[in-house]
């Protein structure tokens, strides 16, 4: 299949998920993504290199399962930028790259002598995309963050929770995923801009700011109506105010820690739910209209929960779906990965071949393009796995020359 992005080369300093997730997209569509890592620390700037999960008992920088997941289809090159020769080689790579991508703390690349001004001097139409918690500009530019802190500051932690309790937040670095996606969008937009104008540019992404864009209507409720989301009883994030629905929630099902999500979008759907439940409460006049159900939501939730609690979650969801009501079991990882015909039919969990780990399943992509679809086959690079290959391909260095650089501690 044709590769949509095969004509682009990315000089990639990203790591973790917030950065590596962005270049994973590009690599999946055929871009040449060259990860540049430090040989002295064995690429440990990206802590995922040696973090669980592991396929077996082997440990070390080439065995981190998360790293592999986020770095499929990329090449790995080591450069010890403490040496002059490595900085010269990096300069040559930058000259041959369309994009330089990084998600260090602000200022790190600058200290290595590869700030935006230098990059632009090396290649006038370079696209430089930086991504960190608070961005490179503003009073908090020097603050340190990681996913949960980004989510705390941008409002996402607060808006996930049950009323009159501390925030529940997101149980993972949702903003690492989102920051990575917006970073990839920024790279593609900058490439389109360059195709039309010949201009490169710098794009600065602050994950906290990006997260703030995900609460638009709530922020307008504040700027237009003066209504804060921090108020008694708010948020109650399993309920739905926009649009208003009731019943709407996550209800207990039979078994330990089993749950089912139900959303009644209309009076007609509530009437249909009543027919499935076949209990007297479903016919009570106070529940007939949306306004009535919203007013009595605590009672209604307790009644629905009493019905679902005795039943298996999949059976509840299936009976409601059959009656025309949106419902779904809360899926455990195993259920949605190994037991869902839809993710299987999609090819959502492709197997890649990793040089040391062997065949490993990874997250695929949730899109299919009819002519230039993504493809994930190669696992993430071991530290320096493609050093010789990349230096030969890009700079024409011979095996012997690379061996010499290796002996000198440059690569």
């Amino acid at each position: 299949m044709t590769k949509a992005l095969a004509r682009f080369r990315i000089c990639d300093f990203t790591g973790q998920l917030a950065g590596a997730g962005a270049t994973k997209w590009l690599a999946a569509f055929g871009a040449e993504v060259i990860r540049i890592e430090d040989p002295a620390t064995q690429g440990r700037w990206d802590i995922l290199r040696s973090m669980p999960p592991f396929v077996d008992e082997r440990r070390g920088v080439d065995f981190g399962g998360g790293f592999n997941n986020h770095n499929v289809e990329k090449d790995g090159l080591t450069l010890n930028l403490r040496t002059q020769r490595a900085r010269e080689i990096l300069a040559e790579i930058v000259k041959r790259s369309d994009v330089v991508a990084e998600n260090f703390a602000s200022g790190v690349l600058e200290r290595w002598g590869f700030g935006y001004e230098r990059l632009r001097a090396l290649r006038p139409d370079i696209i430089y995309v930086s991504n960190c918690g608070f961005g490179h500009v503003g009073p908090y530019a020097s603050f340190k963050t990681w996913g949960p802190i980004v989510q705390a500051v941008c409002g996402l932690t607060f808006t996930s929770g049950l009323p009159d309790r501390e925030p529940a937040g997101w149980g993972y670095s949702y903003m690492d995923h989102t920051g990575g996606m917006l970073m990839a969008i920024a790279i593609l937009l900058a490439l389109l801009h360059r195709e039309r104008t010949g201009e490169g540019q710098w794009v600065d992404l602050a994950c906290t700011e990006a997260g703030l864009t995900l609460h638009g209507p709530a922020i307008l409720d504040w700027t237009v109506n003066g209504r804060p989301m921090r108020r008694p009883g708010s948020p109650h994030s399993n309920r739905s105010e926009s649009p208003p629905m009731a019943p709407h929630g996550i209800y207990p099902a039979r078994g330990v820690d089993e749950w089912v999500a139900i959303a009644c979008r209309s009076d007609a759907e509530f009437a249909a739910l009543g027919r499935v439940v076949a209990a007297p409460w479903a016919q009570e006049a106070r529940f007939a209209s949306l306004a009535g159900r919203l007013a009595a939501q605590d009672d209604l939730d307790a009644l629905v929960a009493a019905w679902t609690r005795a039943r298996e979650k999949g059976a509840v969801a299936a009976s409601l779906q059959a009656a025309g009501i949106p419902a779904a079991a809360v899926a455990r990882p195993q259920e949605r990965i190994d037991g869902d015909p839809n993710t299987a039919a999609w090819g959502l969990w492709p197997r890649v071949e990793h040089s040391k780990m062997g065949s490993v399943r990874v997250d695929g992509l949730p899109v299919h393009l009819s002519k230039t679809d993504w493809e994930l086959r190669r696992g993430g690079p071991c530290v320096g796995e493609h050093t010789e290959l990349v230096l030969g391909r890009l700079l024409g260095l011979s095996r012997e020359e690379v061996a010499k650089l290796r002996a000198e501690g440059v690569v």
């Binding site: 709530a218 804060p228 999500a261 899109v367």
Partner: protein, 428 residues
């Protein structure tokens, strides 16, 4: 100059497409939103400006339809469909979120439209994709996030409480990001090859691959993460990271101090708050931490002094939090102690914070009907050259019908006839 200036997008108005359409429109694409005569359902989603319901007052509508122009076409009428085909024949992108099968039934699916415009790039955003076995299941934001994985990982340590979904329509946001990525990728391919294509976006698949460790821990080592209050869902139960501050707000602590110089700065911060050994006898352990050559987490429980040093750091953070409002704690910990922590803001508190104000995040948007401007959330990224801007407030129903059809070469008398027949709707 905008990155997408001159890129013509036809968006068939739907709650599932609005966000992806906004991403393109705010970057300069010419997005024409096609609504049915009754208007899009999300025009009636609260909250409303002034709390007065009405199709032009939904703040959800206002936010997600910025920079777009709006027209009304009755696609149930062949004359309306013919107008859409004429618009598509001049378009670069079609974005739609109809249930699988509806457009095919109208003769407006990708093969129909690509026959008119081979270089067309078309994206379809549906809950389960257009071809899988679950494609016809009914879904909302809540059920997609429940079926797709995020909900399993979010909630509280107390598992008698239900797991939680985060607010804000995040299933559509996740899918919208992927839709925008796929469209831009397809546009770059078209720029080189002249070739158009169709993009199938599944919200359920998107949620599935946006769960970080929950998925890849199962994929790699077949273990199941468990939800924990305000922190990563993990197999083992980890220590709490949220601290209640003096003003009733919370902060999220990150990696505790580990390097000796971090302990030195922590001591300095506590002293600046007036916390000495009298108030906090364990300060002595923090001073020991500052004096040591190395400190390893792995020695907790092995080396008594290291254990005491890390415990004292945790106690010190709790004590400082009990004395300070959350924002002061956040600023002090970051600026003075260099310790990564985050204040847990509500969206409006974050929006008004000095950092984002200084970065120019707040966008002023003119609302001529109100006779004033309104402050909106701004750009998710800062481009040096490509302009991000909200070019106009969300369209009123039918606001640009005549303008858009006229520019597409539809004759005035034809427009008049269609208006009279109710196939199109004018601005009110």
């Amino acid at each position: 100059m905008s990155a997408l200036e001159g890129t013509r997008v036809i968006e068939l108005s739907h709650e599932r497409t609005a966000y992806a359409g906004k991403l393109l429109a705010d970057m300069g694409a010419d997005v024409v939103l096609v609504e049915p005569p009754r208007g899009d359902a999300t025009r009636h989603w609260p909250p409303f400006a002034g709390d007065v319901p009405g199709p032009e007052r939904s703040l959800h509508w206002w936010h997600y339809q910025t920079s777009k122009r709006g027209i009304v076409l009755e696609l149930e009428d062949e004359r309306g469909r013919e107008l859409l085909r004429r618009l598509v024949a001049r378009a670069d992108v079609v974005l739609e979120g109809e249930d699988p099968g509806r457009l095919a039934g109208l003769g407006l699916d990708y093969p129909d439209l690509a026959a008119l415009r081979p270089e067309l790039v078309m994206a379809s955003i549906t809950p389960f994709g257009r071809s899988g076995p679950r494609r016809d299941e009914l879904a909302t934001d809540l059920t997609v996030l429940a079926a797709g994985g995020p909900v399993w990982s979010c909630g509280y340590d107390d598992h008698s409480l239900p797991p939680v979904r985060g607010l804000g329509g995040q299933a559509t946001a996740i899918g919208g990001h992927y839709a925008a990525l796929a469209l831009l990728t397809a546009l770059l391919h078209r720029a080189a090859s002249g070739e158009g294509q169709h993009v199938d976006v599944s919200l359920h698949a998107a949620a599935n691959v946006t769960t970080e460790m929950a998925s890849y821990h199962w994929l790699v080592q077949r273990t199941t993460v468990q939800r924990q209050t305000g922190r990563h869902a993990m197999e083992p139960v980890t220590l709490p990271t949220q601290i209640l501050c003096a003003d009733g707000r919370h902060v999220c602590t990150g990696v505790p101090p580990r390097r000796p110089e971090e302990f030195a700065r922590l001591v300095a911060w506590l002293e600046s708050l007036g916390i000495g050994e009298l108030e906090f006898p364990e300060l002595v352990f923090l001073r020991r931490g500052a004096e040591r050559e190395v400190l390893e987490f792995s020695q907790i429980g092995v080396d008594d002094e290291v254990t005491a040093i890390f415990a004292a750091a945790r106690e010190a953070m709790n004590l400082a939090a009990s004395l300070l409002p959350a924002r002061d704690f956040f600023l002090g910990a970051q600026q003075v102690a260099g310790i990564p922590v985050g204040v847990i803001y509500s969206p409006e508190e974050a929006f008004e914070d000095a950092h984002f104000v200084a970065r120019g995040f707040q966008a002023e948007v003119q609302h001529p009907e109100l006779g004033r401007s309104v402050r909106y959330p701004g750009a998710p990224y800062r481009f040096e050259k490509s302009r991000w801007r909200i070019a106009r407030r969300a369209p009123r129903l039918g606001e640009h019908t005549e303008e858009v059809l006229g520019a597409a070469g539809i004759a005035r008398d034809e427009i008049e006839a269609l208006l009279a027949a109710g196939v199109i709707r004018p601005a009110l």
